[in-house]
Symmetry: C2
Subunit: 454 residues, 2 copies
């Protein structure tokens, strides 16, 4: 939706050309109409919403910001609320309810049918981030003794209210999942074929308590467009559709990226998060890491004599600390991402550490040599810093050791965090940097004390 | 697929119980069989592949590692190659060809039908990361004057070889896209309805040259399962399906995360990348950033006198540098992620900078106060460091200014990179850290020189 459309609609609203607005809206996608209503003032929003054709009102509603939804519900008549609520998919209602105040939840729940209310309560009951919390109960259920013709009849009758009709689920009398069949298979079969004979019985499914990130990885691995979710007794509870999975992948990754950058994850887009909320999400880690950096300061203070004796050593501190931090964060981020994608698990720790050890030897060696050449050619020849060979040796040796230790710390901590059921993403750059800083300074000063005899 | 299945198959291979293997394979998902063949030795791989039922051979092939594909093609008879190639979807063939040596490409292309070859060459011609490079030409094309009954007949006839049949595309005689209709709509319509009357004419589409990340954002925004791709003249070239989009989202995000951690993006999972390749992807940025850190060292050297006069100033350098780096990376990562998700664009720069300015004031103030209290209570009272009020003031003032500048640099650089058509992800933590380090040290020493009169 372009901003010109928005301005256009605003003008038409002012001149009360409602029929013209109706016409524009009927040619727009519901996602774009929702964006338009999000931008509008509360007064404009309800007018635009009331001008929508009935069949797109609920869909538009499902794409709006929760804030806009709240404002609209507050001014809805009971009849309008019922009309919207009965058309929404139960999983959309459930996720909307989670962001509403208690009095609104009550009013909204009283506007849905008793069966829907049962399903919504079921979804709300599952733990956050579980497969159960993102499932929908609106799917097509078939029986194994139906013919293809009967299946089509069933789909035509019950399909319109289902979130997807393209994969149908076959269950027994106790609602246990027996097989799946796609509309493609149905279309290519003969009308008299029996569902039980042509359905796929080797079904990929999730359990309600599975982590939703795992579910997303299953979708990616098997190229699914829907996944059945069963309870502990293999009874089919609902399905998860691929459009929700795309959102899950984006949300989970944003959360991981924020954690890796020492930000507490928020749930709103950047420009929609207030200044105070943004500051509140950023301050805790900054303060904690600032306090942790005291340790580095204490290490420097305790080697005061070494530093006073040879001030040139101080000039290399930022370079050593940065290189250590960067090396560690390369490894930790690579491991955190691979864990999130399900490419590796804690049991691979042996192979990973061995690989990181070899990689860090190569990196450490290359960096030490590059730095040695740089000191000789740039610092001494061009800047005439007169850095002695011994000091160069101290710096390069420290560099190589720092890179090796940084990579081992950076790759092991996320794995250990995963094993301890903590979030590996927290073990990223900022945290690793602080640890590696301390270690590298100790190495630096120890080597300096020995080689420079100070 | 569990490792026990793999060991089981290996044993059966040794005892030549091929019928038993066949039975196991016929009950397995093609993705899992592909994983099994990836794990097997070259000799085992070809035997297992030949035991596969015909209808799952090509699908299994499309899920295998490109290395495994290469090995299998090398030992395929011409007939086997033709059988697999003719069953594969053209987009899968195209992406496979991109990783094959020239002589294999020739042999593979000669095994596909002339029409498919034309389509494959078309896909290969589009620039990497464009919508064109990930499209498939295997979709269902309908005409506007068909009835629903005719459409179903058409789908039954041509559907089996199409990647999706659930969204059908209506084009005119010059192949220009006129509308779309879903199988759901077809199923719920009457057999005598005319496609042109019931199709959706307000079609969301992409152009072949669009960036694939943009395409992924469109899928997420509109909850699509397929998206038509047109050329500059609005002629329908192909479609992109949601399963490919899930992969694109994962790949693009991994690439972004790697760049943010100063790693050159690789294209293989962690454990499948060799030690030398991993080292090669990590060394360039490490060396560059190490050299850039020389600037920080030079700044320290140039304030040698200030430091010699008051060694306590040195102890605070790591804390100030870390806090600056963390503050800057928080902002840059938040901006980079929002840019990738399409939540913000360069035109928002004014609003973003104003927001970051206010956020950074709050963060800077809180950190400065927290640090002041820490110096008084911890450093002086407990550690008895005897840090003077003036030094505390220098440190806290520097801290506040560093946080503000770090956040402004961190948020503006990715936006500027985007504007200059560079990759914003490169402007993440490590790069920002190096810049902020230099700026914060200059601030620190300037303030120290003035307040401490050194």
């Amino acid at each position: 939706m372009s901003l010109t459309t928005f301005e256009n609609i605003c003008q038409l609203l002012q001149s009360k050309k409602f029929n013209h607005i109706k016409e524009i809206l009927s040619n727009m996608n519901e996602v774009d109409i929702a964006e338009l209503i999000d931008l509008a003032t509360p007064e404009q929003a309800i007018i635009i919403f009331r001008l929508l054709p009935k069949e797109s009102a609920a869909e538009t509603f499902s794409y709006m910001d929760s804030e806009t939804c709240k404002r609209l519900i507050a001014v809805f008549t009971d009849r309008e609320l019922r009309a919207v609520m009965s058309e929404l998919f139960v999983d959309d209602v459930a996720s909307l309810l989670e962001e509403m105040p208690a009095n609104m939840v009550r009013r909204m729940l009283s506007a849905v049918s008793p069966e829907d209310r049962k399903d919504i309560n079921l979804i709300l009951k599952y733990p956050e981030d579980s497969a159960g919390s993102v499932l929908t109960t609106e799917f097509v259920r078939l029986k194994r003794d139906m013919t293809v013709a009967e299946a089509f009849e069933h789909i035509r009758k019950f399909g319109p209210n289902k979130e997807t009709i393209y994969t149908c689920y076959v269950t027994d009398n106790r609602r246990r999942l027996e097989g799946v069949i796609t509309v493609k298979q149905l279309l290519l079969a003969r009308y008299e074929d029996i569902i039980g004979d042509i359905m796929e019985t080797n079904v990929i499914s999730a359990v309600t308590t599975d982590d939703r990130e795992e579910v997303a990885n299953t979708f990616a691995k098997y190229d699914l467009i829907a996944l059945p979710v069963v309870d502990q007794e293999n009874r089919l509870v609902g399905i998860i559709t691929v459009d929700d999975v795309v959102d899950i992948i984006k949300e989970e990754t944003t959360e991981d990226i924020e954690k890796m950058a020492a930000i507490l994850p928020g749930d709103k887009p950047y420009l929609k998060t207030g200044v105070f909320e943004t500051a509140k999400n950023r301050i805790p880690w900054l303060v904690l890491l600032m306090f942790l950096a005291t340790i580095t300061g204490m290490i420097i203070s305790s080697f005061e004599n070494a530093l006073a004796g040879s001030i040139v050593l101080t000039a290399f501190i930022p370079m050593i600390m940065n290189t250590g931090g960067n090396s560690g964060s390369q490894s930790s981020v690579a491991i955190i991402r691979s864990l999130a994608l399900g490419d590796i698990s804690f049991s691979d720790i042996g192979r990973i550490m061995f690989k990181e050890l070899r990689v860090s030897f190569i990196c450490g060696l290359v960096l030490a040599v590059a730095n040695f050449i740089k000191i000789i050619l740039f610092d001494n020849l061009i800047l005439k810093s007169g850095i002695s060979l011994t000091v160069s040796a101290v710096v390069c040796l420290t560099l190589a050791l720092t890179v090796i230790i940084a990579k081992l710390v950076g790759s092991s901590l996320p794995l250990i965090a995963k094993k301890l059921r903590l979030d590996p993403a927290v073990m990223a750059s900022p945290f690793i940097t602080t640890i590696v800083d301390a270690i590298s300074l100790i190495i630096y000063f120890k080597i300096a004390t020995v080689l420079l005899r100070i």
